[in-house]
């Protein structure tokens, strides 16, 4: 069996300036913090980041979290997300022209990533028809109803987080940490999985894992629960 287990720094070795990456999680809940730290250490520039949001900014009591770490370090030149209101640093970056931001309805974002992973040429969604979300998109009419044709999203890297994974990369993300982690596992060239628990193959029942390890390129252990 191919050995997928790496340190976080090894896992980002081939990450390069200007690449497009996906980061799982929702407001940093379910984001792989070890992997974000490794990206910051590597210091790649001009990343396009696809994620639900801009993560959490640094506060007096804590460092930034999730995508917020990349934003705080100035590594992000473009963010494709559904909501960035909880990270004022994204707004600041947008104001001064350093950070471009494409806002996409959350459900459309999830489907576009899934379509990228599932080999679809796109999906037709009624969400956003007649609004700014339709700008630059083709409108397709099916049985008299209008839909936006949303094209698939793919990335060079996906950084995702599991609660339980085995050494082949089969994984599950507990409770509300699933979010974008499952669809992003399908949609990138290199998929790096940060996990809290790392199990031997066959140690847990197969049906406890929600996603197959065949999607996962590298596995990095040592994710810990966020301490409030």
């Amino acid at each position: 069996m191919v050995d997928k287990i790496k340190t976080a720094d090894e896992a980002v070795k081939d990450l390069k300036d200007g690449m497009t990456i996906m980061v799982g999680g929702f407001m940093a809940c379910g984001s792989p913090e070890n992997l974000m730290d490794a990206i910051v250490r590597k210091g790649v520039k001009n990343l396009t980041v696809i994620g639900n949001d801009g993560g959490m900014p640094p506060t007096e009591n804590s460092s930034a979290r999730g995508i917020g770490k990349l934003v705080a370090a100035g590594l992000v030149s473009r963010l494709i997300a559904s909501h960035v209101g909880l990270n004022p640093q994204v707004g600041e970056g947008m104001m001064c022209g350093k950070l471009g931001c494409d806002l996409i309805p959350q459900g459309t974002l999830a489907e576009a990533i899934r379509a990228g992973g599932a080999g679809l040429g796109g999906i037709l969604t009624p969400t956003g028809v007649g609004t700014i979300a339709a700008e630059g998109r083709e409108i397709i009419e099916v049985d008299g109803k209008k839909y936006i044709l949303e094209k698939p999203l793919k990335a060079d890297f996906a950084f995702i987080r599991a609660t339980h994974a085995d050494k082949f990369g089969n994984f599950m993300s507990a409770k509300s940490t699933k979010t974008f982690n499952y669809v992003m596992a399908m949609a990138a060239e290199t998929v790096v999985l940060g996990t809290e628990q790392l199990h031997e193959v066959g140690e847990l029942d197969a049906d406890l894992y929600h996603m197959p390890g065949t999607f996962v390129t590298y596995i990095v252990g040592g994710e810990i629960k966020w301490q409030i």
């Binding site: 929702f26 407001m27 940093a28 809940c29 379910g30 639900n52 949001d53 959490m56 997300a81 559904s82 909501h83 960035v84 209101g85 909880l86 707004g91 947008m94 104001m95 806002l103 309805p105 959350q106 459900g107 459309t108 974002l109 999830a110 489907e111 899934r114 969604t125 009624p126 969400t127 956003g128 028809v129 007649g130 609004t131 700014i132 979300a133 609660t163 507990a174 409770k175 509300s176 940490t177 699933k178 979010t179 974008f180 982690n181 499952y182 669809v183 629960k225 966020w226 301490q227 409030i228």
Partner: protein, 218 residues
């Protein structure tokens, strides 16, 4: 103001039927779950990925793996089920929510909704709002009738749209209004206000229901 919020939430709660699956926006809409009528069991969905969301977590007892769509730590019911964003929005877009309750900046008589961009202000993003109002079977807007005296219920929205032709019901501190093909029909008027009060506070024609009732929340 607190009083007004609870009045609106109480009235919205009366719209819920036993067995409903619903999504409540952050803020005022979340209050609705406190006022569900006796015998009306509603399961609430959280768009970040679960059904069975319950109240805020007690400080010190947070499960950091369980947040709501506003990044607040919350609790969940025993019957909760967790899923990813793709399935979460399949529920939302696919018509599997009986109702969603959200606030609005503007609503117009065609049922168009604007609640995400204020020109000149930083744009936070639509998040899940566009999907919610497009997909839910019943879209209920819960809001104050005016914004510092300015009309919010209009002949035509002036702000960028969240979605077109989606609003079914508007509940404010002044009354309950249904969006119909003919325009906005005032179904209930709160006893604190006169017909002239609500007409003056509304930026489009209000059709007065033949069956106009007082808005009762207690």
């Amino acid at each position: 103001m607190a009083d007004i919020k609870h009045r609106i939430a109480k009235r919205v709660a009366q719209e819920f039927k036993d067995g409903y699956v619903a999504n409540l926006g952050i803020g005022l809409p979340t209050l609705v779950s406190n006022y569900l009528p006796e015998g009306v069991d509603v399961i609430l969905q959280s768009e970040n990925g679960f059904t069975g969301i319950s109240g805020a977590a007690e400080p010190g007892k947070e499960d950091v793996d369980v947040i709501n769509a506003g990044a607040g730590y919350v609790t969940y019911e025993k019957r909760a089920c967790f899923f990813d964003s793709a399935l979460s929005f399949a529920i939302i877009r696919g018509g599997h929510l009986d109702a969603t309750v959200l606030g609005a900046m503007e609503v117009d008589e065609k049922g168009n909704l604007a609640n995400w961009i204020v020109p000149g202000k930083m744009v936070a993003g639509m998040g899940g709002a566009m999907d919610l109002v497009t997909g839910a079977k019943k879209v209920i807007i819960a809001m104050q009738h005016t914004q510092k005296g300015a009309h919010k219920i209009l002949k035509e929205c002036t702000l960028p749209y969240t979605a077109l032709n989606v609003v079914d019901l508007i509940v404010t501190e002044m009354g309950v209004m249904e969006v119909t093909e003919d325009g906005i029909v005032l179904k209930e008027l709160h006893p604190d206000f006169s017909l002239d009060d609500i007409k003056a506070a509304t930026g489009c024609e209000l059709i007065i229901s033949k069956d106009l009732k007082p808005m009762e929340v207690e």
